[in-house]
Structures are given as C-alpha cells and as structure tokens.
C-alpha cells in the first residue's frame, strides 16, 4: 500500500512535468503576439520592422537555443515566475490570486450543497427505487441537468432582478471587500449564481450516487448484511454509502471540474463576477498567452492532484482493492 501511494505521488510529478513540457512545446510552436505587436509598433512609427523583430527576440531571449529556453522556462515555472498578463495589466500569479476568491465564494457552497443534498437524495431514491419519491427526485435531477443554464440565468435576472427587484442583477465586487465575504449583501448577490450552478451539479451528484448506490444494493455483501439483520439505517450508511463512495470519488474531481469550467465561464459572464472563468475566457479571446497558459496549468495541476487524493482515498476506503499488480 505504501509503495502504491509512493508510486502515485511520483506519477503526479511526472504528469506535471509532462503538462509543463507540452505547454512549452505549444507556446514555442504558436505565433508570438508580443513579437507581432512589437514589429507593428515599429512599422507604425516608420522604423524597420525586421530590426525591431530582432530586438524583440533578443530582449525576450528568443534568440537562444531551444534547450536554453526550455531550461529558463522550467526555472520560471518552478519559481512561480509565470509572466505578465496583458489583459489584466498584472502579473499572472497575483491575477490568479485575485480571481480565485470570486470563483471559490460560489463554487464552494455549490460543491458542499450539491454533494450533501445530491448524495442524500440519490441514496434516498436508491433506497426506495421506483416510488413516487424516486420519480420526483429523478425529474428534479433531470430538470436541473436539462435546462440550459445560461437561459435559466437570464430568465432569473429578468424575473427576480428586474421585475421583482428581489436580488441584484449583477455582482458588485466592492461588496465582499468592503463588507466582508460573508456579509449579508454579498450572500444576497450570490443567490442567483449559486442557484443556477446548483441546478446542474446537484443533479449530476444525485443521478450518479443513485446509480452507484443501486449497484451496491444488489452486491453480495449488502445482501449478506441484510440477511444478518443489519438495520436499514446502518445498511445504507455503513455498507452502501461507504461502497458507493468509492466509485463516486473517482469521478468527483473530473466531473466537477468540467461542470465548473463550463459553468463558471457562463455564470461569470452573465453576472459579471471577476473570477477564474471570466479571466480565462478573456485571456483566450484577447490571446493573452501567459494567462491562458497559467489557467490551463492550474487546472491541470488541480486535476492531477485531485486524482492523487482520490486514488489514495480509494485504497483506504475499499478493503477489497488489490494493489498487488500496480
């Protein structure tokens, strides 16, 4: 088991290295907007673009051999010198540090609520499958997944924001800073974004946990436990939940990241939240290479790390796992 974990940790580092190298390759291969801009300004003021290009390459060490650049790049990455973001007029690391809080403030509640409520509902409907409760839960779940969240968000803004004026129509970033992240005003302006994002992620958690729990319910050991007269409560919590948690945790990081990335870009655009989604979207559209790079790497690292945790949780949770051949 220790060996297995050690191997997984090592793999994490290898994976990060691969990710870094791949992105280096991508950057080296793609045209450099900075260089284009530099030559453009030269052309605009009537200087020789060729010369400016050389100067730019020299200034940015592009005239060095690839190995040298690769080495510098790796050193910069490891020392967190991730460059300057043109689209935000900020260094990349502070940009991420600024933005992540705005995403986390709605992402964490969504994560917690969708996990607790989603698992609860999922287990409950698995416990009483094919009943009215189950069907209602199914419908609510499918409803949440099926409704296009951007459309839902816009309708909510018009109905609750403009017509009724119950909630703010957009997110004011001054409020958490002046009144605190947990202030009433901040929570109020998070109601809509959280609601919209919850519809989708809650549903996923619920459907997934129901399916997993159903599988486990039929498993031999549950049947044995049932036969042995274990109470229903104990059966659900101890046996089913524990076993269902195993496969659940594996898809957890991946699927949640997917929901957040697609969800947060849309949510943050609509509600004007200056978080990671909006930042990444703008970086892509404005071709802000260092920022695109950084956000990609951060997610990949998060995912790799999440995976590591999952795998470790896995060996601890499931006593039957065989790590002999790993």
């Amino acid at each position: 088991m220790k060996w297995y974990i050690l191997k997984r940790v090592l793999w994490t580092f290898v994976a990060m290295w691969i990710a870094l190298t791949l992105t280096f390759g991508l950057i080296s291969a793609s045209p450099n907007p900075g260089q284009m801009r530099a030559t453009m300004s030269c052309a605009a003021v009537g200087e020789n673009p060729q010369e400016c290009r050389e100067q730019f390459r020299e200034r940015n060490n592009l005239d060095q051999p690839v190995t040298e650049r690769y080495k510098n790049y790796m050193v910069n990455m490891v020392t967190l010198n991730w460059g300057w973001s043109e689209s935000r007029s900020q260094y990349v690391i502070p940009a991420i540090l600024d933005a992540w809080r705005f995403t986390a403030q709605y992402a964490i509640p969504v994560l917690v609520i969708s996990t607790l409520v989603g698992y609860g509902l999922g287990l409950y409907s698995a416990y009483k499958p094919y009943t009215v409760t189950d069907y209602t839960a199914s419908f609510v779940g499918f409803f949440g997944i099926s409704i296009p969240n951007f459309w839902f968000a816009l309708v909510l803004i018009i109905l609750l924001g403009t017509r009724v004026e119950l909630v703010p129509t957009y997110y004011q970033s001054g409020i958490p800073i002046q009144q605190g992240w947990l202030s009433l005003a901040n929570l109020r302006q998070l109601i809509l974004p959280v609601t919209v994002l919850l519809t989708a992620s809650l549903a996923w958690q619920m459907r997934y946990s129901r399916a997993q729990a159903l599988e486990q319910m039929n498993a031999e050991f549950v049947k044995v436990a049932k036969a042995k007269g274990a109470s229903q409560y104990r059966l659900m919590i101890w046996h089913v939940l524990r076993m269902a948690a195993v496969p659940l945790s594996t898809s957890f990081v991946g699927s949640l990241l997917a929901i957040f990335w697609s969800g947060s870009v849309i949510i943050e655009q609509i509600f004007a939240i200056p978080g990671l989604g909006l930042m990444t979207y703008t970086a892509i559209v404005e071709q802000d290479t260092p920022l695109v790079l950084a956000t990609t790497l951060v997610t990949v690292f998060l995912a790799i790390f999440g995976n590591l945790l999952e795998d470790i949780a896995y060996v601890i949770l499931d006593p039957r796992i065989d790590y002999g051949n790993r």
């Binding site: 600024d98 933005a99 800073i177």
Partner: protein
C-alpha cells in the same frame, strides 16, 4: 470577436480629446465595447495611423445646462455607476493605446484643454491657461496654470516637467511611446522644437506654416509623468519597468490634476473613483470666466464607478433595476428605451466613425474588383441608404465618402447610388472583362460558372443582417456569396494583414520598389505581390474612426498606395499623399479645405470601398440623473460630462 450577439452601443460620455485613427469594429465605435474592442486595443496601440491625431471636442460649457442659480441648489452626493463592456489596461498614463484607457485616465487627469469648436482659440482651458497660435501658423504657445500639483510629493507641474517628458520619454527610442510620431511633422518627420519661455510657458515651433498644427499639437493631450518617478527607469532605459510601475499604471501620482481619484480597481469588474478634494479647477471657476461656475463644486457625486459587463443585455437589465445609472444602447434596441418613465435617452448623432463594406483589390481577391464599374455595381447592390434605414433602423447617417455629412469637409457633389439592381447588372456587364457575362439570370465567369464571392465578418446581430442583405442582393444580380465569420483578432490577422506573398511571388520581394519597403503589415507590399493569409473579396465589421477636423490623414493612410492601412490594395491614380501635404502646409484652413474636400470627392467617385454610414450613439440614464446636455447633442463638441451631473435628490434612487 463579438461575443454578445448584438451590436454594442457605447456610452461615449466623453468623446476623446485625442482622436486617433484606429481600426474598429462597427458597433464598437468609441472603443467602449466588449471584446471586439479589447481585441482591438492590443492592435491599436500599434496600428494607430500616424499623423491623424487631432485635439478636439468636449465642451462642458455647452454640454451643461449649467444651473444658473446658485451652486447651493445642486444636491451633492451619491454613487454614479456607469456600465461598460470595454476592457482596459488600467489607468496607465504612459500606455494609452485605446479609447477606453484614455477615457479613464481623463477621470484622474484633465489634460491641457478641450476643444469647443473649430476655431483655434475656441477651447475650454484646463491645465493650459492660455493657448496662443502665432499669426504665421508656425508657433503655438501654451501657459500652464500655476496651481497644478502632482501627488505623492512629486511637486508642481511646470514647463520643465513637459520638456523633460518630451526629451526623455515621449520621443526617446527605447520607450516606443505610442504617440511619438506626434512630435514631428511633415513628410520627412522634422522634429517640433520645444522651448521653455518661462516657468509655466512652453513654445512649440514647426519649420513651416501648418494650418492643422494647432489641432495636432502634441502637448494638449499628453499626461506628463513626474520626473522623480520616471528618472530611475530612464537611467536604465527600462520601459518594461516603467509601464508596470504601480504608480504609473494606476496614475496615483495625479495629485490635484483631475476631478477624481482612483480608489479601487478590480480587474474585469469595477473601477471606483472618489471625488477629488483638491481639484485645481475649483479655484478657476471663480477666477477664470471661461470655466463655468459649476466647477467651483464639481464633481457632485461622491463616487463614480465604471462597472464592467461582459453582456450588454445584463447591463441594460441592471439599468432597469436601478443598479446602474448610465449605459450605452445599441441602435437596434433604441425603440425599447424611448418613452420610458424611469430612464432618459440621450442621443448623439456626432460620432466620428465610418462603417463601410471593404473590397479586396489585392491579388487574392476577385480580379474584377479592381474595376471601378464593378465597385459601382456593388454600391448599387449594397445600398447604404437601405442599410441605414432598415438594418440600423434609421439610427445612422448615410455617407458616400470617408467623412460624415455633418463634418466640415463633406463634398456637396459626392457621388451617390440609388440601389438599382438593373443598373448594377449593366455595370457588372460593362465593368468586367469580356469573358464575363450573364447566362440567364446568373453572372458567369470565363469558366462558364457562376461568380462566387467571399464575405468575411465578425458575427453580431446587425452584421448578420448586413451580410444577409448583401447575400440576397448579390443573388438578385446573379452572384453567389459565401459568408465566413471569424473573430476580430483573426480577421485582422488572417484577412486584413497582408504580409503574405501572392502566388508566384517570392518571399523576399513582397515589398514596394527596389528597396522592398513594407509600410506596415497591413500594407506589406503592392497589391499584386502582398496578400492576406486567407483569400477574401468583401469585408464587413471593420471600419475606421478618425478626427473629423483633419480627415486628410485618415484618407491617405487608408487609401494611399504605400500607406499603413491600405490593406485593400487600392491604387489611387491621384497623389493622395501629395494632396495631404498640400492641405497641411496651406496658408490657412480655408485654403486647405478645398483640397481636403477634393480628396473626399475623389474617394466618393472611386469607391475604393462601399461607403455606408456613421452611427448615432444612444445612452440611457436613470431619470434621477440631472445635468445632462440637451438631447440630441447640438454639435460634435458637446459632451456628456458626468463631472457636472448630479442626482436630482442628492442620492441615487436605490
């Protein structure tokens, strides 16, 4: 790219004092505009055409139906919130490359003066107490006010400050300052001479009389940096360090130089300003007759917020809900905002932007487009009056040359077209070479197949309509149209930039003449040698913004054979550069006018592109915002200046 599928209206609260020619997307005119303009902002810094800058606009005097009663009657207080979809690089006084950044820097620093009219001396004096033009039109003398103070202990702004900035920053090679070209004039880039007359007076001298020099003089629009702040960077020639310096980037050295101070900037969210306590102009409201009395107390809001929205539609919802006080309204939404009780709609017909249908006359476009009659036919097919009336719902002014009808140089005899399809068919048959012709209703080429053209544009609601209109109309004259939509960046990079060799031309000989000159990447060489990466025939979305007082520079840079922005490959048979120089060195503006009008008339006759229209801008306000100028704006120089606006009850209605 335009990600909001609607044209972005613009607030345009303070038409920039500095009118630089720049590429822009239709609907994002004033640079207040979502990601089209953001894509543009990176480009414009570089792509600013030289010599078309002009100082103009803004007349807080006229713009304010200034409460003539006593100042006490104006209620103070409240937070004025404005929505924008444009992004910015902060308040970097040294790296202003786009209108959005320029607008914002002007909140914290006034600049020299604002123009109130065409006459040289018709100005609203701000930092410059005096602005004097010598009779022989070779000298401009400016005198600074005596109470201009930088903040952070950097001392007073004096003539010396300006001279030091000119010598060490604005004209220095290592800074690659965006507007360094403003500091020289003429074909040979002769430097302007700056001299210090006394502590507060600077004299600028040009070698020969230039009637447009007073409009184009560089100092009025510049924001000098304190010497002590910039000196270390100058010593190291460290431009990266200079533009990334916190003080420079946020203009926190602004002292008493502007009506507002920046308090907080949250990227991609909000920029918050608070009323400056020590605004220098207050003193002059009493002492200088040219400064309205309202400035003794202005601004009246406690805070001014520029809130960023990614989606225009959300910004409008926020205005309805009363959470925003000012937002731009795109032309196709105007009707929804007329006659509302809780909002006021302000109309500004004086927008200096031309939209048109671009025509590729380079080697990778349809070769017949080089024939004038074919371009005439296209002008019939893509009928500008129909577009203005039906697609832009009348919220635009038709133009038949690269100048608005309200501009001072619009030729009375500009060539116009009536949109007749029969005429278009006739012109097509006449204008194309003999191997083209009609086969039934189809216009066929030498290979016997229907002529097919490619239109490229950035998709949004109005441009989709323009494209659909063009396709329909071309279909009626027997030509097929393929439409390609792309992003703004990709349109500039793959279609507008022409740094690729045409078929059969070797990489090294793409440029002009024996010295293989490349005026810019947008005009990398002659039409038959340099072409764009991807072929195209017609182009929408991309238009041009310019200073209406000095259009000669824009005309030349767009359509002069070897000029920066002639990506169209148009080859004029008249010497546009020569005409521009003639106008610029004329004895007076009156003599220059004739030449400029002639240039515009020539364009209208040549139709290097199908001229379309200039937009009318609309801005919606909450009804409790008072102090607006009369709508529609009375002239180009009227400005929606929030410095003199106030909430009628002293606080926002929320």
């Amino acid at each position: 790219m335009s990600n909001d599928s609607e044209p972005t209206g613009q607030v345009d609260q303070s038409e920039r004092r500095r009118f630089l020619t720049y590429l822009s997307a239709t609907g994002v005119v004033a640079g207040l505009a979502g990601c089209s303009s953001s894509g543009e902002s990176t480009e414009t810094a570089a792509a600013t055409a030289s010599e078309t800058a002009v100082q103009t606009t803004e007349d807080p005097l006229e713009s304010t139906p200034t409460p003539t009663e006593t100042e006490q009657s104006i209620p103070e207080g409240g937070v004025f919130k404005e929505a924008t979809t444009g992004t910015t690089n902060g308040l970097n006084a040294f790296r202003i490359g786009d209108g959005e950044t320029s607008d914002r820097v002007e909140q914290v620093m006034d600049g020299g003066f604002a123009r109130k009219g065409e006459a040289y001396e018709d100005i609203f004096p701000m930092w410059f107490e005096d602005f004097t033009v010598s009779d022989d039109l070779t000298q401009v003398e400016v005198t600074l006010r005596d109470n201009l103070q930088f903040g952070n202990g950097y001392g007073q702004v004096t003539a010396e400050t300006y001279i030091w900035n000119v010598e060490n920053l604005w004209t220095a090679d290592w800074t690659s300052f965006t507007y360094s070209y403003l500091f020289s004039v003429g074909k040979d880039n002769e430097p302007i001479d700056f001299e210090k007359v006394d502590d507060l007076t600077i004299r600028m001298t040009v070698p020969e009389p230039r009637p447009f020099f007073p409009y184009e003089e560089p100092l009025g629009g510049m924001f000098p940096l304190p010497r002590e702040l910039a000196q270390p960077y100058v010593d190291d020639q460290n431009v990266e360090g200079l533009v990334k310096d916190e003080e420079v980037m946020r203009s926190t050295f602004n002292g008493n130089l502007g009506p507002w101070d920046l308090v907080r900037w949250s990227q991609q969210s909000v920029m918050e300003f608070e009323r400056a306590d020590d605004y220098y102009l207050r003193k002059w409201a009493e002492e200088d007759d040219r400064v309205p009395d309202a400035y003794a107390e202005a601004p009246f809001f406690d805070e001014y917020h520029i809130q960023y929205f990614q989606k225009q539609s959300t910004a409008r919802q926020a205005l309805k809900a009363g959470e925003i006080d000012r937002v731009g309204i795109p032309s196709n939404k105007v009707a929804n905002w007329q006659g509302r009780e809780d909002t006021t709609l302000y109309e500004n017909p004086f927008v200096s932007f031309s939209s048109y249908l671009g025509i590729n006359q380079r080697a990778n476009g349809w070769d017949q487009l080089r024939n004038k009659k074919v371009r005439y036919a296209l002008s019939h097919v893509y009928h500008n009056e129909f577009v203005a009336t039906n697609i832009l719902s009348g919220h635009a002014g038709v133009q038949n040359t690269l100048h608005p009808k309200w501009g001072p140089y619009y030729p009375d005899d500009a060539v116009s077209f009536d949109g007749s399809l029969d005429e278009a068919r006739r012109l097509l048959e006449e204008g194309t070479s003999s191997d083209y012709g009609y086969s039934g209703d189809t216009f066929v080429g030498p290979d016997g197949e229907q002529v097919e053209l490619t239109l490229v544009y950035v998709s949004d609601e109005t441009d989709d309509l323009r494209a659909a209109y063009l396709k329909k109309r071309l279909g009626k004259v027997g030509i097929a149209l393929n439409t390609t939509t792309t992003s703004w960046t990709s349109m500039l990079g793959n279609y507008f930039r022409t740094n690729n060799p045409a078929e059969g031309v070797s990489e090294g000989s793409v440029g002009y003449g024996s010295d293989n000159a490349h005026p810019s990447t947008y005009n990398y060489g002659p039409w038959d040698k340099a072409v764009s990466a991807k072929p195209w025939d017609l182009m929408l979305t991309l238009g041009f913004s310019y200073g209406p007082l000095t259009p000669a520079g824009t005309v030349t840079s767009l359509f002069g054979e070897r000029e920066n922005f002639n990506a169209y490959g148009f080859t004029p048979d008249r010497d546009l550069v020569g005409m521009r120089e003639e106008a610029r060195t004329a004895e007076s503006i009156e003599t220059a006018r004739e030449t400029i009008t002639e240039m515009l008339r020539y364009l209208s006759e040549e139709r290097p592109v199908v001229f379309e229209s200039n937009p009318i801008n609309y801005t919606a306000y909450r009804d409790d915002v008072a102090g607006l100028p009369n709508s529609p704006a009375a002239s180009y120089f009227v400005d929606q200046n929030h410095d003199v606006m106030y909430f009628s009850d002293g606080k926002p209605g929320r």
